[in-house]
Symmetry: C2
Amino acid sequence: MEGDAFSAFAITALRLAGHLTAAGDQLAKPAGQTSARWQVLAAARRGGMSVAQIARALGLARQGVQRLADVLESEGLIAYADNPQHQRAKLVRLTEEGAARLGVIEIAQAGWADGLGAAFTSAELDAARSVMTRVMEMLEGGEAAGG
Amino acid sequence: MEGDAFSAFAITALRLAGHLTAAGDQLAKPAGQTSARWQVLAAARRGGMSVAQIARALGLARQGVQRLADVLESEGLIAYADNPQHQRAKLVRLTEEGAARLGVIEIAQAGWADGLGAAFTSAELDAARSVMTRVMEMLEGGEAAGG
DNA sequence: CCATATATGACAATATGTTGTCATTATGGA
DNA sequence: TCCATAATGACAACATATTGTCATATATGG
């Protein structure tokens, strides 16, 4: 029954996420950051997005990202810029200090990903990611059966 | 470069976990529970495990599971039984009320997993899970390169 | 038996994330 | 223009989870 295979898949995915978050925290630690802050810094570098837009891009609640962004702003890693499109929704941009911290993290992350990725083929990783993405799309869409 | 494929895999896994937790919360909601409590109830049904053992089995910090277990115990869904092997580490067991709640959740979960799993072959799901498991084992083991 | 190391529960501080609520700002239709 | 609706930031309450610390219980080696 695919239901059992799916349940096992879901349980494994949840445990994997815990390990990945912990690994991300370790990668971000030398820059004084965490996995969550790192995500916001990376979004800030893209630029042109408000906090609410970043939250949607990350699949997180607006309020949680707002709290992180406010902390990063108070530490000078990001800055709020006026948005000609919207008076309240300021645009988030990366400061020089923020870019420096993000750079430190991403150098470490690249080495980490290369090291772990070497144990897999790109095809394996992409196939697994494809399944994960399809599951996500189903969860975002129909809210599923049986609930 | 497999590093890039791995990075994309990791980002997708983190987002998927968020969706799965939200879905689990919805499944557990009719029983007045959450994803986290559900996991502890399921472990309690297996029986013969202390809080610390459950935490290790779930890949979570001992202290967090302890807090959940204390709440579940105060609500009468689990009970602490004396452990002949260890004076302090009581064994966690499911009460009748806990079993009833867990049953409600698992009926909903079975339908949910069948519905979502129908869009995949067991082979796809198992292959994806295999990759996730291998990543986890690498993360648990070496703590990886580049960090 | 004793000393050391490990495991466990208790407690606290902190980080992350969700939901709910509110006032304000945009947006779109009558 | 006016009004209803949606989006946004601010604030609060709560759930989850981590790390750190402490005292006590258990295990291990001498």
